[in-house]
């Protein structure tokens, strides 16, 4: 059997997905036996123009991480889609926009104004802003155009599979790679993880359907070690987040922040969490309920920490 051809690419991301891919450790050798990596800008010396020269669909699978924040990333997403039989959104940024997607609460102008004009340490009396194309004495310099909003990979090109997580845990990465190597991929559109149900399913903390009267910030209390964090009043998103990660954060005494995205069958993770939260609040009095939820300082940033661009909200409407 001929070896698979795999491409790996990064767009608007942090590099954590590359580290996560390396975390599979000695399984990298199995991957190397089964597949040739034909494009991986961080690791091998293959250029954009080399990819352009490849015939359409000549790459078996592309693992694409990072969101679409600028013109170069959009161009690369479209090109790699044409060249690849299978397109995999790897990691939360490509899947749902992730933390950089919180930028959709603002627009380009607001971001530029803050970074280049208003930041406390910025010294910019001439109000210089970066330009996509700028003429220096020696010639024209270009940088990619920064878009007004962050888009997910699915909003840019057709995507076949999703590997969730910020970054995906080692076992999730391998689950996807193994399926690819063995030719046992699930139906198109599948979000690949060990558990389509909630993180709570993975979590060893005990739930006894206790209801809460107060919501705490994580610095305000030292949680009991074995009891569900949500039932202790911490905003743990595990209840509305896809499992398969093994619940490492609650086991380190910190609430799940939702990086594996919504559970199977749910479109909007934030709305799902909101309804789950409503069911654990111990009150029927509208006034009291309002007081309790008023202690949540940032609902959008907390419930949609990773999924804003992919949610029904998409972002803030800015006039």
């Amino acid at each position: 059997m001929s070896k698979l051809k795999i491409a790996l690419y990064w767009a608007a991301s942090c590099g954590g997905c590359e580290i996560a891919q390396l975390q599979i450790g000695e399984k990298l050798l199995k991957l190397a036996e089964a597949a040739d990596i034909v494009f991986w800008p961080v690791a091998i010396d293959v250029k954009y123009k080399d990819v352009e020269a490849m015939p359409d669909k000549s790459i078996d699978a592309c693992l694409f991480n990072g969101a679409i924040r600028n013109s170069e990333q959009e161009h690369m997403a479209k090109m790699l889609r044409e060249k690849s039989k299978i397109m995999i959104a790897y990691g939360s940024c490509a899947y749902e926009g992730c933390i950089p997607g919180l930028a959709n609460l603002f627009n380009r102008k607001m971001i530029f104004d803050r970074v280049y004009l208003d930041a406390e340490s910025t010294d910019n009396k001439d109000k210089t802003l970066p330009q996509a194309s700028y003429r220096v004495p020696e010639g024209e310099l270009t940088i990619p155009e920064f878009y007004d909003t962050v888009k997910t990979l699915r909003q840019t090109v057709d995507v076949d599979y999703i590997v969730p997580g910020c970054p995906p845990e080692e076992k999730t990465t391998w689950l996807a790679l193994e399926a690819l190597i063995e030719g046992k991929l699930p139906p198109k559109g599948t979000v690949i993880s060990h558990n389509a149900k909630a993180v709570c399913d993975d979590c060893p903390r005990k739930r006894d359907v206790k209801k809460i009267k107060k919501i705490y910030r994580n610095y305000e209390i030292i949680p009991e070690p074995e009891i569900c964090l949500l039932e202790q009043g911490l905003l743990c998103l595990g209840i509305a987040t896809r499992g398969g990660c093994g619940a490492p954060c609650p086991q380190a005494n910190m609430p799940c922040t939702g990086c594996y995205g919504p559970v199977a069958g749910v479109i909007d993770q934030g709305a799902h969490f909101l309804s789950a939260l409503a069911s654990v609040i111990d009150s029927n009095d509208p006034e009291e309920i309002r007081r309790i939820v008023d202690d949540i300082p940032d609902p959008v940033g907390s419930f949609y920490r990773y999924s804003l661009p992919d949610s029904l909200l998409r972002g803030a409407r800015i006039k």
């Binding site: 590359e18 580290i19 970054p167």
Partner: protein, 485 residues
């Protein structure tokens, strides 16, 4: 006018690009180092609860999330006016020392090392980690991999996750260390100290005993007289986690020493229209363009800068190595950019020795890991030394602790102006009219930025080899006349 485009270079935060403009005769007229990406964390942090910032801001970089996580956590200590417990401070520094070991190891063996171990003109196919392992032997190669894995295990143990840890809270950390874990860390630390000493010996044998390399290190091509900045402890020794920021002038005199809360008196950032990165400079000296010297506010950060601003190292083996370097190079500060690699190995020894000290401290298994904040939050600044230099997080909140303003000066960015200068100087010295532009020559230009270990210098890059460097030479009409692959 001809131009050479190096796009993309990698191993920085996102992507990078170098433009080299030639004059009609074929000499270098000017160069530009461009960062073509921005994500805007300073803006979208607004509205977020402050305590979420250690987890939000570490998504700036998945290679050094620990640095952002801790700078942010320290900013929260200041913001909430809370003193972390002594155990918590030690656990933070312990995790950070383990992180430094992984990061510096990666840079030396995988990113920068190949240039020296294999030689700058070695074939591209050999100038990589596999070539290095072939030369230094499988045994040492195995130790490189083992050291990285073991220290990642420490990060996972304390931080809950190997990438993007979840342990920083204002006033402390989230997880108690167990005695059996402490013992495991102690063992890893002992092995790491031996590994670090061995690494310095490799550098000695391969680099310092080779006159050609030493001449290259001290050559003018890779030298800039600049200011330096870095954290020091109460005894003016190098510290990664805490202390005062010290700045020295190009002639080695203390120019400033300031607490994190005073950073705005000392640093300002210049904006250029052709790149998304800003250029920090010393406010009291001023921005004079991309030039070095006493009158230019450009300063440098990262390993060599930290050693230059300090009076020494806080652990014995590192101190010995520190003295050896300054004796060998004959002056302090050292202005030779390539000596940054040497300084990094001295820091590797320090990180391992510090990890061992902390792992043997009986207090670290004490469960008193948190002080609950009670004061009203307002404003906080946190500074740590990231492997790539001084890293500053500055937050202002409302009385509920919701971010109103966030300002971030990221380690690599502090060196952005210096990187521009270093590339220009190397290009001007190496590209001459009539001289063929070979891959090896362009690699020597790359060697001018590689010591800065531009962020995203992660293990991943180089498992298989080299930095991708498509280089295209343009004529004055913008047509590609030659391609280098």
């Amino acid at each position: 006018m001809k131009r050479i485009t190096i796009d993309p270079i990698t191993r920085l935060e996102g992507h990078g690009k170098i433009e080299i403009f030639l004059d009609d005769a074929g000499g270098v007229r000017n160069t530009y180092f461009q960062v073509p990406e921005l994500r805007g964390f300073e803006k979208f942090s607004e509205g977020r609860p402050a305590e979420e910032m250690p987890q939000i801001t570490q998504r700036i970089c998945g290679v050094c999330p620990e640095a952002h996580h801790l700078a942010s956590t320290k900013a929260l200590d200041a913001l909430f006016h809370v003193e972390p417990t002594s155990v918590a401070k030690k656990l933070r520094e312990l995790l950070y020392s383990a992180f430094y070991i992984t990061d510096h190891t990666t840079n030396f063996y995988i990113l920068a090392g190949p240039d020296f171990v294999m030689g700058p003109d070695a074939p591209v196919s050999e100038r990589n980690i596999l070539g290095v392992i072939g030369k230094v032997g499988l045994e040492l190669g195995g130790k490189v991999i083992k050291t990285r894995m073991q220290n990642h295990r420490i990060i996972h143990m304390l931080g809950g996750r190997a990438v993007h840890p979840v342990f920083g809270l204002p006033g402390g950390v989230s997880k108690v260390l167990r005695e059996e874990e402490r013992r495991e860390i102690e063992q890893i630390a002992k092995e790491s100290v031996e590994f670090a000493r061995l690494s310095l010996k490799v550098f000695n044998d391969i680099v310092l005993k080779n006159k050609e390399y030493v001449d290259m290190i001290v050559s003018d091509v890779y030298t800039h007289r600049t200011y330096y900045m870095g954290l020091v402890d109460a005894n003016n020794k190098v510290n990664f986690y805490d202390g005062m920021v010290r700045v020295i002038s190009p002639d080695g005199k203390e120019f400033a020493k300031y607490a994190p809360s005073e950073y705005l008196e000392h640093i300002a950032e210049h904006v250029e229209p052709w790149t998304y990165v800003k250029f920090p400079f010393l406010k009291k000296v001023g921005w004079k363009g991309f030039v070095d010297g006493d009158d230019s506010g450009i300063f440098r950060v990262a390993p060599l800068a930290r050693l230059n601003v300090a009076d020494g190292m806080a652990t014995p083996l590192a101190q010995e190595a520190y003295e050896e370097m300054y004796t060998a190079l004959g002056s302090k500060p050292v202005h030779h950019t390539l000596a940054m690699h040497w300084a990094r190995l001295i820091e590797l020894i320090y990180a391992a020795e510090r990890l061992l000290e902390l792992s043997q401290d009986p207090e670290i298994i004490n469960p008193n890991i948190r002080t609950i904040p009670t004061a009203i939050p307002d404003e906080g600044i946190g500074i740590v030394e990231a492997p790539r230099g001084t890293l500053i997080h500055h937050y202002v909140t409302d009385e509920r602790g919701v971010i109103k303003k966030a300002n971030l000066i990221v380690a690599t960015v502090n060196n952005a102006a210096a990187v521009n200068m270093s590339i220009k100087k190397a290009a001007m010295a190496l590209i001459k009219p009539g001289k063929e532009i070979t891959e090896g020559l362009l690699n020597r230009i790359e060697m001018a930025w590689r010591p800065y270990d531009l962020c995203l210098a992660c293990a991943s890059h180089t498992l298989f080899g080299t930095s991708p460097l498509p280089i295209e030479v343009y004529n004055s009409e913008g047509q590609v006349i030659k391609k280098y692959t």
